[in-house]
């Protein structure tokens, strides 16, 4: 049994909130640069150039890449041989978000009630996901999620008879409907299987995976490639002004599901697909 102080978790969450908002992951930077090279439409090239300049400025000057510094989605993979001491875990995470968003000059974008609104003033609470895994470490991932893209996400409970074609059509329909709103070029996270709630979580987790890593199952790796190509034939382009580069990547995560169902969730992210990870 290893003891980890709640304070250590606070410190790491604080640091990751700031870093995630200032430094675009290298894989996403690389994907944007590659798409710029392949883009064949003038207005789209101009947009991609501005997007590249923007993340370079953010990194050099340590300022937020985007003003929507998101809801703080915090994923904790907690080793089963860890004992968290010296405080409450939920409070430790929220305190990290509170400090990170204050010290990092990040925007506070959370309201305390979905209907009656009212800003909480410190960007808490975090959207916290915990998973118990083997070992005696804690893996902390912070993924600030903007809502221009979150609002264009969708979930559908398919009948199994809809088959793979149903899922393909749903992906294209969702991206087409999203159009310019989620700040394309987007990253598309797809969850297939599980239950209604698990399926949505799979789609979110798909967005936390590197855009350079394909699904380990060749069937889904091929589907990722096929759907990325189809999305990039829609013509939406960077910012929706027209062009080839509508999506940077499409990541699929799956789970077993019930004999009666085939849930599919699509979580859309913008070109500022942010996440940083640290292991305690």
């Amino acid at each position: 049994m290893r003891e980890i102080q709640a304070q250590q978790i606070t410190d790491v969450v604080e640091k990751l909130c700031i870093e995630a908002n200032q430094f675009l992951p290298k894989d996403v930077q690389g994907a944007i640069r590659r798409c710029r090279e392949c883009e064949d439409w003038d207005i789209a090239k101009g947009v991609l150039d501005q997007i590249i300049t923007n993340f370079e400025i953010a990194e050099d000057e340590q300022v937020p890449i985007c003003q929507d510094t998101g809801m703080a989605c915090v994923f904790l993979e907690i080793g089963q041989d860890v004992h968290i001491v010296g405080g409450d875990l939920r409070e430790a995470v929220d305190e990290g978000v509170r400090r990170g968003y204050d010290k990092g000059y990040l925007r506070k974008s959370v309201v305390k009630d979905p209907v009656r609104r009212g800003n909480t003033g410190d960007n808490t609470p975090a959207m916290l996901y915990t998973e118990i895994v083997p070992g005696e470490k804690i893996k902390v991932t912070v993924g600030p999620k903007g809502f221009g893209s979150e609002n264009m996400s969708a979930i559908r409970m398919f009948k199994p008879s809809a088959g793979i074609q149903g899922i393909k059509d749903f992906i294209l329909e969702t991206v087409e409907t999203a159009g310019p709103n989620p700040c394309p070029p987007m990253v598309v996270g797809v969850g297939i299987g599980g239950t209604f709630d698990k399926c949505a979580l799979l789609a979110k987790k798909a967005l936390m995976r590197s855009t350079d890593i394909r699904n380990p199952d060749p069937y889904y790796a091929e589907l990722e490639a096929e759907m990325l190509e189809k999305i990039n034939s829609l013509g939406i382009g960077p910012q929706g002004f027209g062009g080839k580069t509508t999506a940077l990547a499409l990541n699929i995560e799956t789970l077993p599901t019930h004999i009666a169902g085939m849930p599919c969730a699509i979580n859309i992210n913008c070109h500022v697909t942010r996440h940083q990870t640290e292991v305690i």
Binding site: V63, P64, R107, G148, C183, G240, G243
Partner: protein, 185 residues
């Protein structure tokens, strides 16, 4: 080739712009998002005056991050304009002409733009660090309690924008995509 535009946005200038034009905007603009628009429309409904003169005004749909010491403003890219669709026709009816944001607009907004010679400009969504560089002055003028959503007066220089919907209702989101797709055939 970019067109340089000096604000305020007169009817004559507005009518000269076409969807797809790249422009560099210089002058005074005002920031507001949903919560601020709701308040402004309530103010107008009570027959009271807005915190700024709406005649030929341009409104930027943005909620910036807090400024770091030494900065004029924090990162300041556009938010999704569709959330202001419920309020935009009312704003145009009292003289506001320019809108800066990103994303699709409802047909009601486009109709109001045709009626009042409005222009909808797109700034690059997600380019908050870059766009902040064009903002030379920032002053909070109302609704401080709304935090990031407070009403601010900005002075911008050569702000890079693209005309998305012009005063005759032409729409870059439709035309740009169609042009790209037809070119590929």
């Amino acid at each position: 080739m970019e067109k340089r535009i000096q604000l305020p946005l007169t009817e004559e200038v507005a009518k000269s712009l076409r969807a797809g034009d790249s422009v560099l905007l210089t002058g005074t603009i005002y920031t507001s998002r949903d919560a601020g628009h709701k308040r402004m429309c309530e103010t107008l409904a009570r027959g009271e005056e807005l915190p700024f003169d709406p005649k030929d005004a341009t409104i930027y749909y943005v909620g910036p991050t807090p400024a770091k010491p030494g900065q004029v403003i924090g990162s300041a890219g556009p938010t999704t304009s569709g959330r202001m669709d419920a309020y935009a026709p009312t704003m145009m009816s009292v003289g506001a002409r320019g809108m800066i944001g990103k994303g699709a607009r409802l047909p009601e907004v486009v109709e109001a733009m045709k009626k009042y010679s409005g222009v909808y400009f797109g700034a690059i969504g997600g380019a908050g660090a870059l766009l902040a560089k064009c903002i030379k002055k920032c002053e909070l003028i109302a609704y401080e309690d709304l935090g990031a959503e407070a009403l601010r007066e900005l002075y911008v220089e050569d702000m890079p924008l693209v005309v998305i919907i012009d005063s005759e209702g032409r729409n870059l989101y439709e035309d740009g995509k169609a042009a790209y797709l037809s070119r590929k055939k």
